[in-house]
Amino acid sequence: MESVIRAVAIYVALTILFRITGRRSMSHITTFDFVLLLVVGEATQQALLGEDFSMTNGILVITTLLGLDVTLRWVKARHHQTDRMMEGLPTILVVNGQPLHDRMREARISESEILQSAREIHGVMRLEDIHLAVLEVSGTISIMPHRNA
């Protein structure tokens, strides 16, 4: 009982916290982001297991977490509104080489990050050569270069 409550509470808290911190946190993961995730995992582990390090407790907690994840995915697949709320929607950041500064500021994405994605995927060096840059739900930036770029 306690293990299930712990797992549900942690799952809900993590879902809310990661939704608040935004997609930005998962795109262009740096070494520090990686270390931060490890530390979050370590802090979560203590809260999940408490002082009960038995195999039963571990299996109960894992089963609850995976069960919640499956349930949430099932709900998201059936309710478009929930999916939008939980995952967000793609956001256009550049159109026809013109950066949309207000959106970039709100999404906390800089021009240099867009250019980095453009270089990595398409070898595009200039913003003017980008037809469309989209901040995807996953946190990655998709680049569609001009056809002649």
């Binding site: 509470a9 809310i16 916290l17 939704r19 608040i20 911190t21 935004g22 408490g50 002082e51 939008r84 967000g88 929607l89 793609p90 956001t91 256009i92 159109v95 026809n96 949309l100 959106r103 709100e106 999404a107 469309l132 989209v134």
Partner: protein
């Protein structure tokens, strides 16, 4: 006003910028809430800070007690009991009600004797060197979240005590 190109791209990508702006507003509100949470934690609202500390004296003024009114499961909190002046009666500490259910993870000084009845614990201590006030320190550790209500008695002095245990 959005350009026709942006409108077309927006339609193709499946963007809803009004919804996204609401999400961004929610995130900004969330950052504020996180900052408030950290500030409250620093102040001790979740235990272990100045706001969590409590101090009280018995009605007859013979003992003073300091404790943490907010604590968390699995974390030790300190309960310090001092007599005002040298103790006049034998040093027998009595914990009653919810306090008797809390685990005592450490007791200083070591009690000479300990006995227990349902809802009651007695701890007997040796008196300090002559002319000195007595001090007893207990480390409390709760296993259940919620409000712990009980009372503490040393000799004739009785003091009600309340702890709020966070999960």
């Amino acid at each position: 006003m959005a350009s026709p190109d942006l409108k077309e791209a927006s339609r193709q990508v499946g963007e809803d910028i009004h919804f996204q702006r609401r999400v961004w507003r929610f995130q900004r509100f969330g950052w504020g809430a996180m900052a408030v949470l950290v500030l409250l934690a620093t102040l001790g609202v979740f235990g272990g800070g100045p706001l969590a500390k409590a101090k009280s004296s018995s009605a007859d003024g013979t003992i003073e007690v300091e404790w943490e009114r907010i604590e968390r499961i699995g974390r030790d909190s300190r309960l310090r009991i001092r007599t005002v002046g040298p103790p006049t009666a034998p040093l027998t500490l009595r914990l009653e009600g919810g306090l008797a259910e809390v685990t005592l993870s450490a007791i200083e000084p070591q009690p000479r004797g300990e006995s227990r009845a349902p809802g009651r614990v007695w701890l007997r201590f040796d008196p300090p060197a002559e002319g000195h006030a007595a001090e007893i320190v207990l480390n409390l550790r709760s296993a259940k979240p919620g409000i712990v209500q009980g009372q503490l008695a040393l000799g004739d002095a009785v003091l009600p005590l309340r702890l709020f245990v966070l999960p």
